[in-house]
């Protein structure tokens, strides 16, 4: 074996269990709502807030429920983040920028090209200029938005993951939540709680990156996109530093190989509280690439080493990012009884490294379309029209090929991206075709053979998972669907792909009577980053409150 194509080992999306006829047996409570929003992130909460306000202004009230799989608001939310305040201003016209849950306006900023020992300051590309934007923690943003939504009477149910899509004919009727309190074999235990059915006139899927029900709906309704969605994996650490940081930093180059797309970010939330991370496209070619290990190496660069010396890592987390841009958006983000918002739909602009304000804006647009739908039966396709006419679609169209240009490596990609910037996206023309990440072949290099696994300097994956706040019950059933027998090379590929140490590759035991599995799955470690769902075993939701407990990520 000299190459791995991850798709060959990936189980199919379990559509037959994800799409469920409304009224199917097996649920405990059933709750009727006007509007159900799946996911309390920036998209879902902006949608809930705008919708509750529209209803109130109209002299009525809507029964709006928001489901969230994290135990508390914001605990599964992770971003850089430098936030464009535009959607905040639209959602809260009566508030000032200083009222928003931001940490500080971006002052100085710098972009560097790194080699192992040196750094060159580059002119900041226009798309990456952040003047007027704010450094923030997405956890804090989500908690703030959640409180605003609750003040308006929205019901926010934390600790309830949506696990199945309830349907009637071709319409979405609601969702069924994941049960809680199952034992390792998946059997209910005393004190556990059964699934709940939540049904609504409109369901907004704001599940975030690589949303399970979003995938299921698009597959079930055969809603295509011009390109498949592609993803990057970001691994982030939060540091209390002894040295203050006075600028927003982005880096390109080392420690990434030249055939991987990505870069790092270093943001000061406070002068001595620094968020840093590395984002790598999941179309990387070397099966041995390990983003977590690369972050540990990045910290050894002189630029960061001096900043972090004597400091302490206080939090760690990981998350995928939908990077396909304009051509990866589902052809329509609305259907019978359903709309797709935010990261779940793919509203991320890679060249400017922004998604939060697009997510919120899509939520605001969805709220307006849903309100008209409930009030006078207008089609939910209005949501697509609103987004297509907004800066969300405009911005993504302008940079439509920029991320895609990097599919053949960093240097060629960089030149093309520069031309695209100069011409406002018009040159080179046409549409760049992409493969799904799982279809990209990985080479087995020396690094991917047994015995040469790199030792992470800094933080091990086990310590990292602890710092994510992950306190998932050890006795829950595994939520990851892996192919029964994968070759050792694939098991090793998974073990490096997963930043949280969920997968372990074990060499075959010599002379053993029964072959032990080569892939071992430590499911409770999972921090729901979804990289596994993109390249390896499928992800499904666990009982509510499992996974990380991010606080300032």
């Amino acid at each position: 074996m000299d190459k791995i194509v991850p798709a060959h080992y990936q189980p199919a999306l379990p559509l037959d269990t994800l799409i469920l006829q409304d009224g199917a047996a097996g649920a405990g409570d059933r709750m009727d709502l006007d509007v159900l929003i799946v996911g309390a992130g920036p998209a879902g909460l902006a949608c809930a807030i705008e919708l509750a306000r529209l209803a109130k202004a109209d002299g009525g009230e809507l029964n709006i429920g928001v489901l969230e799989k994290a135990e508390a608001l914001g605990e599964h939310s992770l971003s850089g983040a430098v936030v464009n305040p535009r959607a905040f201003r639209e959602l809260f016209p009566d508030l000032n920028d200083s009222d928003f849950p931001f940490r500080a306006p971006v002052g100085r900023e710098a972009v560097y090209l790194l080699t192992a020992e040196r750094s060159w300051r580059l002119p900041t590309p226009p798309s990456m200029r952040n003047h007027g934007n704010f450094v923030a923690s997405l956890c804090e943003i989500v908690r703030w938005l959640g409180a605003k939504a609750e003040e308006l009477g929205v019901n926010v149910f934390t600790g309830f993951p949506a696990a199945q899509l309830l349907v009637r004919d071709a319409a979405v009727a609601g969702v069924r939540t994941a049960p809680a309190g199952l034992d390792r074999e998946g059997k209910p235990t005393p004190g556990g709680s059964a699934s709940n059915d939540l049904v609504a006139k409109v369901t907004a899927l704001a599940e975030g990156t690589r949303g399970l029900l979003t995938q299921a709906w698009c597959a079930w309704q055969r809603v295509p996109s011009e390109n498949p969605q592609i993803f990057a994996l970001g691994v982030k650490e939060l540091w209390e530093t002894k040295q203050p940081l006075d600028r927003v930093i982005h880096t390109l180059g080392w420690p990434l190989p030249s055939d991987a797309f990505g870069g790092s970010f270093v943001y000061p939330l406070e002068p001595n509280l620094v968020a840093l991370g590395l984002v790598v496209g999941l179309d990387y070619r070397d099966a041995a690439l390990d983003v977590h290990v690369l972050v540990q190496r990045l910290k050894q660069h002189p630029l960061l080493r001096t900043l972090l010396a004597g400091g302490e890592m206080v939090e760690w987390g990981a998350k995928t990012i939908p990077e396909g841009g304009f051509y990866s958006l589902p052809e329509r983000r609305s259907g019978d009884g359903v709309v797709l918002l935010g990261d779940a739909a793919g509203f991320v602009d890679v060249p400017s490294l922004k998604g939060i304000h697009y997510a919120m804006q899509s939520g605001i647009s969805a709220a307006r379309a849903i309100f008209q739908n409930l009030k006078r039966g207008a089609a939910l396709a209005e949501y697509d029209r609103l987004v297509n006419a907004s800066y969300v679609a405009r911005d993504l169209y302008r940079t439509r090929n920029m991320r895609l240009a990097f599919r053949h490596g960093f240097i060629l990609g960089g030149i093309q991206a520069a031309l695209m910037t100069l011409t406002g996206g018009r040159f080179p023309n046409g549409k760049y075709r992409m493969h799904a990440d799982a279809e990209v072949a990985r080479r087995l290099s020396a690094g991917s053979r047994a015995g040469s696994a790199e030792t992470p300097i800094g933080v091990s994956k086990v310590d990292a998972v602890f710092k994510s706040g992950n306190a998932t019950r050890d006795t829950i059933p595994s939520h990851l669907i892996a192919a029964p027998d994968v070759p050792l090379e694939v098991a090793r590929f998974y073990s490096r792909m997963c930043p949280a140490g969920v997968y372990e590759a074990h060499d075959p035991e010599v002379g053993a009577q029964h072959a032990a599995p080569l892939l071992r799955v430590n499911a409770p470690n999972c921090v729901d980053c979804k990289a596994t769902d993109v390249l390896g075993p499928r992800w499904t939701p666990r009982e509510g409150g499992s996974g990380p407990k991010y606080k300032r990520m």
Partner: protein, 250 residues
């Protein structure tokens, strides 16, 4: 069965707490607060007793800041019937002052059972329950890990060093719940919705100054760095010698 459960809002045990600039209190910025885990056992036990009796009331009483309403809602979502917040900006350092405020509230009604958690995981005082019992002149059993009630007579088990102590007591009584008493239920969606509509009375209270004062808070000393003696069977001898002579644990 009429049961009062006294609960406390405490920092989540996963929270990394920081000492505030005054050196005497915790910096509350960014801390996630939860219902004290031992109080969860108390709430669960109250709900089971009421369910068993087929009738009655479970009232939840909490001394704390306005934000503690959220903590009370958690108990209401589990199934408690109503809540009372004795609102004070600061919870007194002196458990006796806390006990006086709670006892004053409890005196307003008659109760079959008054339940507390064995202790709050923030200050570990384990005092308020017994102090309230004393103030109300009721019998008190602490750290209950198993409970049987027949009519007006109760039998409680307490886990003590090397065994189990069995205590008989008459009702009404004050009990404090230990881990193992039960497995608290997961809040249900319907319970969360219902909790929003349940009565939550807010009563401002003024705590006395008490006789205790926190002089200083200090974090535990940093753990000394470990030592790797070696690898494989060859290192065992040296490890045993170090455990015996340096660590003196063998």
């Amino acid at each position: 069965m009429k049961i009062a459960v006294c609960i406390k809002r405490v920092p989540d045990s996963e929270t990394r707490v920081k000492i505030a600039a005054d050196g005497k209190s915790l910096d509350e910025a960014g801390i996630k607060f939860v219902l004290n885990p031992y109080d969860e056992f108390a709430v669960e036990e109250a709900l089971r007793r009421k369910e068993q009796a087929g009738a009655g009331e479970v009232a939840v009483i909490c001394l704390g800041p306005a934000a503690a309403q959220e903590t009370i809602r958690t108990a209401l979502a589990m199934g408690a019937d109503r809540g009372v917040l004795l609102q004070a900006d600061k919870i007194p350092i002196d458990p006796f002052e806390t006990a006086k405020l709670i006892a004053a509230e409890l005196k307003g009604a008659t109760w079959d059972l008054i339940l507390f958690g064995r202790m709050a995981i923030d200050d570990y005082n384990t005092q308020v329950g017994p102090l309230v019992a004393e103030l109300l002149g009721l019998p008190c059993v602490t750290a209950v890990s198993h409970l049987d009630i027949e009519g007006t007579k109760g039998v409680a088990e307490r886990e003590i060093e090397g065994g189990i102590e069995v205590v008989e007591f008459p009702l009404p009584a004050v009990l404090t719940a230990d881990k193992g008493l039960n497995e608290p239920r997961y809040p249900a969606l319907k319970g969360i919705m219902a909790a929003k509509k349940k009565s939550l009375e807010v009563k401002p209270v003024q705590a006395g100054a008490g006789t205790l004062e926190i002089v200083a808070l200090t974090p535990p000393p940093d753990r000394k760095e470990g030592k790797i003696v070696g690898e494989g069977a060859g290192a065992v001898g040296e490890l045993v010698r170090l455990l015996r002579e340096e660590a003196k644990v063998l």
